[in-house]
Symmetry: C2
Subunit: 153 residues, 2 copies
DNA sequence: ACTCATTCTGAAAAATATTCTAATTACAAT
DNA sequence: ATTGTAATTAGAATATTTTTCAGAATGAGT
């Protein structure tokens, strides 16, 4: 789907604050409320906007420990890969998982309460999965930047 | 701030779809609209909910290339670290940046159009920063899971 | 039992989202 | 240039939702 400059400005603003009203958007972009409304609906219909979400502060819900975990599989046959990915998706501690290039096969972003909870996760969940070869954990000392907004301007 | 089960259910739902109406929430949780309204306002006031955002599909806005880039600094004096982090924050291609444990100092999640754009980014922006020792890039072959929602139940 | 603070309900008011009709614009084909 | 067609827009109406308000229920501490 093709996006003009107005679409991009709308997306830019919605990515930063999806609670902004159509009225405010319309005055900032010098368009009618209806024009804004129709454009947003079109962006939603075409799945340019995939969803609207509330972002929760991890520390406020007792999830202050973030880890990047790299994983190697023992085999790479299609069945193993499919099975592994299905199982990973089920784990709620895993916020993100990517199949990647390089020495390891996967990178996972994991969020838990603390180091102890991570140990539990590793022992009881992750290393219990079949086909896992080795893992390597990288702990987050401090977040420097964290955004979901893609720059479009 | 302390959260009861109702708060957690509200957060759970808002993390998945922040456009859900208070009326719908109220019927699903068997509370009045006002009760829901007040609870959400409290969650916002106390920054449990940090913001509401629209999520945009990267491919739809021509950003199909994601990379994890690990960085080592040449020195770790406070001034260097501060300066480096300030500069990283400015780069719109960098969606996330974490100070981490292990062999490298930082992990960055970078989103660009394609490999060529990534090369441009590396040459013109990243390696132009002072104090950078070495970098190592890991390319995303395929996303397996990607969510912003923290499981609270 | 009484007070205080918190959370709740239901109704009213204010603001916003959505629908509708018509006018305008953009653009391709002639 | 001009016609026709579709897409986009504006403005008014209607429908929904958010927000405010007053009063009732709840619970902890005295």
């Amino acid at each position: 789907m093709s996006l003009d400059e107005i679409d991009k400005k709308i997306l830019q603003k919605l990515q930063n604050d999806s609670k902004i009203t159509n009225k405010k958007l319309s005055s900032e972009l010098n368009l009618s409320v209806t024009a804004i409304f129709e454009r947003i609906k079109r962006l939603e219909r075409n799945r340019v906007i995939s969803r609207y979400v509330a972002l929760v502060k991890p520390a406020e819900v007792d999830r202050s420990f973030m880890v990047f975990c790299q994983i190697k599989l023992v085999q790479h046959s299609k069945n193993y890969v499919i099975k592994f990915e299905e199982e990973i998706i089920q784990l709620h501690e895993v916020l993100e998982c990517y199949h990647v290039s390089g020495e390891y096969d996967y990178i996972l972003k994991i969020l838990v309460k603390d180091m102890e909870a991570y140990r539990e996760f590793l022992l009881n969940k992750l290393t219990n999965l079949n086909h896992i070869g080795s893992t390597q954990s990288t702990f987050i000392i401090s977040p420097v930047k964290s955004t979901t907004a893609i720059d479009l301007l």
